[in-house]
């Protein structure tokens, strides 16, 4: 399949206050490409939740963003502590957030379930002590 667009973003862990640059840029690009606004919102929310997770929990990550004629793919590979119990992390309300994260309005235990909810295909691989790989696919049609 021909790739219409592809971009790689580096995300640094730690600074919650200014986080969200990659996902807001992804949203702007999708708008410029004329993608349906309902799809854009799903992609933007999934990307933003994934970006916030990196900023809050990991050291750094690469976010690969691809637009093909049929779907939008976001792959996030981070270096960080990983998740010991993925099924627990997928439950709404389960969170290991710090008070600082909660002060910024995050850490309600909604992130991963919300990424899944906005995706047509969602895969998560975690290696404790190494990091997490997320594969998010959202169909355009």
């Amino acid at each position: 399949m021909d790739k219409a667009f592809s971009q790689i973003y580096k995300i640094q862990g730690g600074n919650i206050y200014n986080a969200g640059k990659a996902s807001t840029e992804i949203k702007s690009i999708l708008k410029q490409l004329g993608i349906n606004s309902f799809i854009i919102r799903r992609v933007a929310i999934a990307a933003y939740e994934a970006e916030m997770n990196v900023v809050m929990y990991a050291k750094h990550a690469t976010m690969t963003f691809e637009v093909t004629p049929k779907q939008i793919n976001i792959i996030v590979e981070d270096e960080g502590p990983g998740i010991a119990d993925v099924s627990l992390a997928m439950q709404e309300g389960y969170s290991t957030a710090t008070p600082e994260m909660r002060e910024m309005g995050f850490g309600a235990g909604m992130g991963l379930p919300n990424i899944k909810r906005n995706s047509d295909s969602f895969k998560i691989e975690s290696v404790v002590g190494k990091g997490i790989k997320l594969e998010i696919k959202i169909n355009i049609n």
Binding site: R41, I45, M110, L112, P113, N114
Partner: protein, 121 residues
């Protein structure tokens, strides 16, 4: 209802978006948790919140929130206002509490939007 009507109903200060007060919003949502805004809000909503930081504006942009009302007399920093200007999201501020502000707007016909249906992973 228009943002002008909201400004009047809630005695709002307009931090940015004076040129957008003709904008219409049909439904609203309220939360201090941006996680919940991302999970439960709908595109086009007005957001009432007590959380005054960059992530409030980023979340609004991502979730297609039309305008933000800060409750309890909270004031955004210059940096937050500038981010909102960049994203063209009007920022209003009311002295009312979240509960009162929601009640006043609800009474005027601004309907709720959050759909809090439990989701199974």
């Amino acid at each position: 209802m228009t943002l002008s009507e909201i400004v009047e109903s809630l005695s709002c200060e307009v931090f940015t978006g004076n040129d957008q007060l003709h904008m219409r919003v049909e439904f609203g949502c309220a939360s201090d948790l941006m996680s919940d805004v991302l999970a439960f809000s709908q595109a086009g909503a007005l957001l009432l919140t007590g959380l005054v930081n960059n992530q409030t504006v980023q979340t609004a942009y991502i979730a297609e929130i039309k305008a933000i009302v800060f409750v309890r007399g909270k004031k955004p920093s210059r940096e937050v206002i500038s981010l909102a200007q960049d994203k063209k999201i009007p920022l209003l501020g009311t002295p009312y509490s979240m509960y009162e502000a929601c009640g006043l707007l609800y009474k005027k016909g601004l309907v709720p939007t959050m759909v809090c249906v439990p989701f199974k992973a």
